[in-house]
Symmetry: C2
Subunit: 426 residues, 2 copies
Amino acid sequence: MKSVGVAILGLGVVGSGTYKILRDHREFYRQTQGVDITVESVLEINKQKALALGIEESKISDNIAEVISNPNVDIVIEVIGGVEPAKSFVLAALHSGKSVVTSNKELFCKYWHELEKAAKRTNAGLYFEASCVGGVPIIRTLIDGMQANVIENLTGIINGTTNYILTRMSREGLGYETVLKDAQKLGYAEANPSADVEGYDAAYKLSILSSLAFHTKVPLDKVYREGITGIQAQDITYGDELGYVLKLLAIGKNGEKGIEVRVHPAFIRKDHPLASVNDSFNAVYLKGDSVGDIMLYGRGAGDMPTGSAIVSDVIYAATHNDVKYATFKNGAAAEAGVKFVTDFKSRYYIRFTAKDRAGVLAKVAGIFAKYNISIVDLIQKGEDCENIPIILITHETNEYSVRRALEKIGALEDVVSVDSMIRVEV
Amino acid sequence: MKSVGVAILGLGVVGSGTYKILRDHREFYRQTQGVDITVESVLEINKQKALALGIEESKISDNIAEVISNPNVDIVIEVIGGVEPAKSFVLAALHSGKSVVTSNKELFCKYWHELEKAAKRTNAGLYFEASCVGGVPIIRTLIDGMQANVIENLTGIINGTTNYILTRMSREGLGYETVLKDAQKLGYAEANPSADVEGYDAAYKLSILSSLAFHTKVPLDKVYREGITGIQAQDITYGDELGYVLKLLAIGKNGEKGIEVRVHPAFIRKDHPLASVNDSFNAVYLKGDSVGDIMLYGRGAGDMPTGSAIVSDVIYAATHNDVKYATFKNGAAAEAGVKFVTDFKSRYYIRFTAKDRAGVLAKVAGIFAKYNISIVDLIQKGEDCENIPIILITHETNEYSVRRALEKIGALEDVVSVDSMIRVEV
């Protein structure tokens, strides 16, 4: 039977989960995969933490060189996160010909090309299923399951923290700050939540997933990004009345005009399969030219789901010798010929507050008409007040036009404020 | 660049779709997969059909020996369906060392072991992603994406015809026969629909999927099977009132008591992700011990989705040399030590008609109590009639008890008929 020794760099949440899975399933993998996988070394400064997991003292190290030079280690699992020291550690492992399995989306999204080059130099493998959407095997699916398709678009709910917050805001009618505080207490959000709530985490993942889906490097700086911090509870309520739920979407499209990649809050129809992806669940909805619509749904984070993806990669690395990279032609930057769409099209939910005077709607309608924006739906609320909220949904139009129209509307004498502009997708 | 020649056996719906995908994506696969895939031969009696697809006359044959002995053919795609002549053709291909890609669930479910033995003898590959759930890469996911997990259960909507029929019955309140006729007219159901509506097709797939998920042969004869032909529109309506939708489910469980595999109509909660799998869409919901809940959703049939799965297998076969089988330890029959659960547990929706007399409910409740069945929900309809329908939902109980209780209830003087018993899952 083939023996494979692994090292785990870092026993944080994911590292500990990975260790437990490997420890508890050793016999199962021997039986079902024909591979004997053992943890030969862990890099962890907190020795007590490692001992508490039942790891032998001789296998615990605080010295990366020692871990990597261990001749029993074939595969190095990097679960430290962030760029440094993870990057140096991964490169050191690859330089010594050890294959690397990583869950590090930021590192992978920013330095994929450099890591892949280093891996190829020593014929080491490089696997990153755990970097995107936790336990959902989306990367394996893109590489080995949907590779017969030209992928036209992908739409994902790929950040658990923001989906948890938006789900609770929707269900309970609470404000963003209230739910955020609760999410922090419950461990669903970090003390500094900006990587999640500002959309960075989703943008890292979208850069990786759309690079794979569209077979060309989609650099992070091409991803339009907008978080959920400005979302107001009343817009979720009005959206609900109109048949929509609000999600932080990651959208990638590959069309005639070029590649379009964006992360932002968006309303989606209640009957769309993505609408029932709630709490900390994630999902990716894909359209392939042959297969049509596909959706993968599951846990996007957590010790065991992400550990599952890591161990799946370890087993894959141990059983497949000829597929070591999910490569695309070009390198670190966007390919010369590839165009990126920035003035994208969407439908729009718009809320503004107007004085309750005759003629204001006519003026607003006139401005929309001038920019060729047609309106699908309009609600006027609270007719007895001096200032009334007006909510409308547009037909598909380009974002530039909407922004210009809203500037003009905001400048109208009878318009108190333009309050919200939320894209309406799927 | 690696060149791979394929033969397609049969230009039916799936064969034609596969041909079109290969023809239209040749350059795309050269660029993205580094493989040049060409169709070198097709087996098709109807030469005009082949010519109409643009296939060169020299590549069209009605002689299987000629197709298989063609030295340019590396991979044989079998899309004939049914056991014979597909089985002989597949065995002949494997005997000559050609790898086989098949969409044939009946053949695969019944003769998997024999085909795998033949393949191993000549080191040919054997791939069957297209046999289950069309374009959804469920088999690749079980083998290469969730292999780190002990899979505890799978619940699937894996037959498009029945899902189409049930979706329309639910939406439009129509009866089974009416929708079936319409489905036949629209091409969603065969002239002889029994393979679909009696649950055979789902049972074939469940046998294959649960064998893979549970790493042991789950023979077809272990699958409990019940179709949708007896479903009455009013039960769908009552279920809706109680918060459920009706689906034909394929359920596989692997627990302490053994393996449980069954195909039957079942009510599921409206807020479960499977509930929004409508029309001819399919989905498989899986629970792994590490990853938790996962769902894969997509088109379960059709020329292009199934063709997508076939071509994905062709590319996989061309790019992976070391993973050729999705093998499990035992052979054709169930392994000696494996137990199969037959008296399974579920919750139950029960409808019966009773005379509108005092005391009938007390008698019924007494019988349920005797069999230790507790009732969660009860609706009594149409209080002004002589005979009234009574609908109830039970807590989880074993099927044997429910069947016995219903016999006793049916024998009560005040009970006119026991009309429906539908399991309630997830």
